[in-house]
Each structure stands twice: as C-alpha cells, then as structure tokens.
Amino acid sequence: MAELSKNDEQGDTTPNVSEVEVVEARTEAEEVAALEAPVERGEPILQVRNLVKHFPLTQGILFKKSVGAVKAVDGISFDLYQGETLGIVGESGCGKSTVAKLLMNLERATAGEIFYKGQDITKLSGRALKAVRRNIQMVFQDPYTSLNPRMTVGDIIGEPFEIHPEVAPKGDRRKKVQDLLDVVGLNPEYINRYPHQFSGGQRQRIGIARGLALNPEIIICDEPVSALDVSVQAQVINLMEGLQDEFNLSYLFIAHDLSIVRHISDRVGVMYLGKMAEIGTDTQIYDHPTHPYTQALLSAVPVPDPAAREHRERIILTGDVPSPANPPSGCRFRTRCWKAQDKCAEEVPLLAVPERFKNSDTPAAHESACHFAEEKDVVHAA
C-alpha cells in the first residue's frame, strides 16, 4: 500500500484543517448525493480534527451540578485513507472505544470535527446523517452480547434493510442475507437459526455479515477478535482481510493486542489517556518507535519465542494510568515516564514529526507527541 504513505515521505501526515475541503451550505439532497460519491483509493475518506469528548461528572440527585469532566478523548486528529486499515492501540481507558462511538455518531462530540468526504458529520442530522451511517458500520467486540438472542440470524443480518430499504427491496432480502452468510463463510441454510446455536467465531462472522449488509465504505472494528480462541482468531482475521480486498473497505481497527494490530494494519496510532501519542506506518511504529509510551507498550508484549526472553530489553512501567478526570499537566505520560523533565509538566507536546528527524528520511521521521523523542527498537532481541 505504497500510495498511502506518500504523505509520510514529506514528513507531514496531518493535513491542516484548512486543507480539508469544507463544503459550504448545500441542500439536503445535494448533501446526500455528495456522500454517495466514491473516493479514490489512497485518498482520505475520513478526516478527524481535534476531536474532543468530555463526559460531565455531576453531583446531587435533584439539582445536578457539574463538578468536572472525564476527558475521554481530548483533542485527537488523524486521517483514514480509502482502502487502508488504521489500527488504534492503547490500554483500557485511553479513549479508543469512545473514538469509535464518536465516528459512528453514537456519541456527540464535545468539540472538533469529523470530515467524511469533506462534510463534517458531527453537525449532520436527518437524511444526510442517515446516509452517512449507512456507509460507516461497526463490528463489536463481544459476539455473545452484540446479537439479540431472540432473533434469527436472518433477522439480525436483515435488520439494517428495514432502516435502509433502498439497499435491498423486500422481496430480495432473504436472498441477500443468504449471500452475506456465504460471503462470511457460513452455510446459507443457517438463516433460521438462533445465535446460541453458533460458536463464538461463527457469531463474530454473523456480526461481520451484519456490518457488511449495507455495502458500507468504512467498518469500525472495536476489538473484533479479542473474545475468540487463538485458533479461531486467525480464521476471523483472514476473513476480514479477504473482505477488505473484495469490497474495497477501509477499516478502523481498534484493539489492545499489538501483534494482531501489526498484522492487519497499514498504519497504527497509539493512544494514551485521550491523546494520540504516536502515529505512523506499521514499520515506523513497531520497528522505529520514538515515543517512550509506545516503547514501553511494545516492550511489555511477550513474544512467543523463549530464546528472546534473556535478550530483550523490558521497560516495566511503574504505577497505573492516571484518571482521565484529572489528567497530569503537560505531557500526560510524564508521571510514568523515565525521561520526564520539568518541560514535560509545563508544555503539552504536540503530535508532529520531531525536529531532529525533520530533514531525514529515516523511518523515525513520523509523528510523535514527545519533547524528547528518540528512536529505540524494543521489539527485536538485541
């Protein structure tokens, strides 16, 4: 996917807001038409700018007063290109699932913009929003709770057609659902079965079929394989990769398993406490990380090679992730960082290509939000 990294070579992966083509007032019909237009492979399909989500903390029962906010997502920006997989990694509480909900418009953003084909979807409503939702679908983590136990598989996969009847006229639906079952590797004759008659891996295939039903362009996958056994995980990952090629999908792949994210992603973003710490191609992030948090995270992953255990450097972080209701000043990682200095408490580091790598073409020249960014390979045994 070489064409995707053309921005990286120029050392600038975040186009400024001004570069995003903002479309001036249009009629609703025009808006919907614009959303249906195809996007070229390698062009950004989704552009997230300074996205913020704060959940207010309230006190009192009758007279609620606000006593602060959980800063779940606190100003993040990234692009998703057509046809690529962007992996988002981070530990629990870093805000990665909130990002998914914001992109799905299941939560309203506190501030910031999400441009889908040039239109800010955080401001849309009515028909235009419905059209966007058709094109951005989601696959959930837990295949046991994300399927209604009282509905047949046919009804579950066909339900999106109730809301978007233009995709499949009533008479065609059964056939369409059977095709979808076939596409995800399930027997089309299972259409009248219930979720409990399937194994975890098969249920996740049903969830994927439902996500595909409306021919979306983007699929947001929130931990899609973490509930599955190792041998079944590989089946589902391979299926998702095949579907991406077949239907020309763009994936936002959210997971905590760093090995799986490397396997499936073209680019990877690392989140910490509501901020993006580092973002780049999979090689840039895994083989040439420059942010201390990424380095600690990668070094903590056990690799399936007993010979490596004596030779790999381990960075064991102390303490826990601070509360997002009361994040540290300056750099959010400084309380656990071994490199932290006074500057880190005073100044928030911006996500940008570090000054020292700016004019070089090393893989270390990618965006990293650290005042003291330096390259360190922690994955490969010394």
């Binding site: 590989a234 399936p304 381990r314």
Partner: protein, 327 residues
C-alpha cells in the same frame, strides 16, 4: 516430584448428556518449576486445576478416575476436612478475575488477615500486621493506609496483586495461577508476571500457569503441557516446543498467531472448531481438524508417545509425531 497428577478423569453430568472434560491427564511439577498448561476454552485446563485444588463443583462435576499425588499422598482420597487444611496452606490458587474473586464488602486487610486467623489462629491485630506486610511484599504502595480500603478502590493490577498476596500468605509449596493476567493491560501484565516470577524464585514454589497466551508461556515457563479435548497432546521443555513442535495442534497454534517483530504473511488458521465434549471424535480427537490425519487417526487413539529424539522427557500424542517434528 512436588505434584504428580496421574491419569485424571473428570466428567460433568448435564441435562443434555455427559461432558468428558478431562480424559486421562498426567503431569507433574517440581519445586521451583513453572509448568505452563496451554489450551483453548473447553480444553480441560481449568477443570484439571480445580480437581487438583479440590474446588470442583460436585455435582455436576465428578472425578471418575486417577490420582493427585501431592507431597507423597493422594489428595483424592483425603476427607474434605483434611483437604481444607492443604488448600491455602500448602497449595493456593490465583484466579483470572480478581474483582469477582474478592469480597466487595470486606476490606482487603480483613480478607488477607483471614488467612492468618483461620489457618494460624492469630489474633485480629496480628493478622492485620501480617496483611500490611504482605501488601508491601507485592509492592502495593502505601500499604499501611490502603489495608483498610475495599476492592473497588483498587485498580485491576493492584487487585491482582492482592490476589497474589492472598495466595502467598501461608507460603504454599504450590501455586496454581489460572489466566492470572488475561484481564489486565499489557504494561500491567508485565508488572504482575514479573512479580509472580520473582516471588516464585524467592520461595522456590512450584507454579502451574494456566493460559492460552503463547507469548506469556514463552516468557516464564520451564515446561509446557498442551491440552486439547481434555487430554495432553504434547508435553515438552519450553525451548523444544517453540523450536519444533511434535504435534500438529501445537504447530497450528504457533502458526496462527501474528508476530510483533515482523509483518507476517497470511495467518495459518486451524480449520473447524474445537470438539463438543459430549461427543468427542473417536481415535485422535484432533483428527477432523488435522492436515496430517490418516485412517489410523480416525480409529486408534494415540498414546502419549515418548519423543525419543529429545533428551529431556518429551511426549506427543500423535501417531506421526516424527513427521510433524521434521516437517
């Protein structure tokens, strides 16, 4: 040998039939040794551990055969009264989910202290002092203040440390850890595993680590037992198994995980699903999913063959282990 499990059989009687959860498992652990028991859900790895600990739900569970020799006596022949004295004092268990394993309405200090009041007959005050010391030992900061707090006031990693402290309280000879870090974030997982390994070295305990994570196993284990459908399909020193697996199931597992250190090719996927324990395939239970299966695999159950090319005791329950080892 500290613990020697021999030909253990466990079944569960349910409304739909009898599930054969454990079908002749044998393994052993020495002092100071770490045995990793690897397997997917339903492989019988946790049920075996519950049988060893004596915490199996009976009914529906039932131990139908085998021995659990611990420090020279067969635990399965002991009365519940005697069993209880062994549990906690001589062998202890760490569970996956610390939040549901701890009592939410009793302070952690009292829960830790209970080990000493019940087993050692200590006064409440002395038990409290021991609890503080234990919390110090598992590196919970400000132990003296936090001893009064309740489980919900601790983070996931800290709660798992409390579970470890509780297991260590009476300095048992054997610890069984059932997926101790599965619920934790990777940086916290590293902290907890390091702590566990360090304490094990210090006390020279035997450790049975039950997990599905091939990475964690490679990091800490001395020996591995791979389970499938209630049987051990391969048992070997950790270095041997990663270098050259002698069972097609082990090989499939190793090939199906993506690598952190390189961009991989397409993942190998073991076809099909793990078997239904009420209807385990005849012959080798893995044969319907095995790329090497032949007629004999469908009829004859393979014993745990000794892998003679290895120096240290190594076994594989595959008729064609030689082929697998070299292929």
């Amino acid at each position: 040998m500290l613990l020697d499990v021999h030909d253990l059989h466990v079944e569960f009687h349910t409304r739909d039939g009898v599930a054969q959860a454990v079908n002749g498992v044998s393994y052993g652990v020495d002092e100071g040794e770490t045995l990793a028991v690897l397997g997917e859900s339903g492989s019988g790895k946790s049920v075996t551990a519950q049988a060893i600990m004596g915490i199996l739900d009976v009914p529906p569970g039932r131990i139908t055969g085998g021995e659990v020799i611990f420090r020279g006596r067969d635990l399965l022949t002991l009365k519940e009264e005697q069993r209880r004295k062994v549990r906690g004092a001589e062998m202890a268990m760490i569970f996956q989910d610390a939040l549901s394993s701890l009592n939410p309405v009793i302070s952690v200090g009292d829960q830790l202290g209970e080990m000493f009041t019940v087993h050692r007959g200590m006064s409440k005050k002395d038990a409290r002092a021991e609890a503080v010391e234990l919390m110090d030992r598992v590196r919970i900061p400000a132990a003296r203040e936090r001893v009064r707090q309740y489980p919900h006031q601790f983070s996931g990693g800290m709660r798992q440390r409390i579970m470890i402290a509780m297991a260590l309280a009476l300095e048992p000879a054997l610890i069984i850890a059932d997926e101790p870090t599965t619920a934790l974030d990777v940086t916290v997982q590293a902290q907890v595993m390091e702590l566990l390994a360090e304490l094990q070295r210090e006390y020279r305990m035997g450790l049975i680590l039950i997990t599905h994570d091939l990475g964690v196993v490679a990091d800490v284990a001395d020996r591995i037992a791979v389970m499938y459908a209630g049987r051990i399909v391969e048992s070997a020193p950790v270095h041997d198994i990663y270098k050259a697996p002698a069972h097609p199931y082990t090989r499939g597992l190793l090939d199906s995980i993506p690598r952190l250190d390189q961009k991989g090719r397409e993942l190998y996927a073991i076809r099909g699903l793990p078997p239904n324990l009420m209807d385990i395939p005849p012959g080798c239970a893995f044969h319907p999913r095995c790329p090497m299966a032949r007629d004999v695999c469908r009829t004859d159950e393979p014993p745990l063959y000794e892998v003679t090319e290895s120096e240290a005791g190594r076994g594989s329950a595959c008729h064609f282990w030689r082929e697998c080892l070299h292929g």
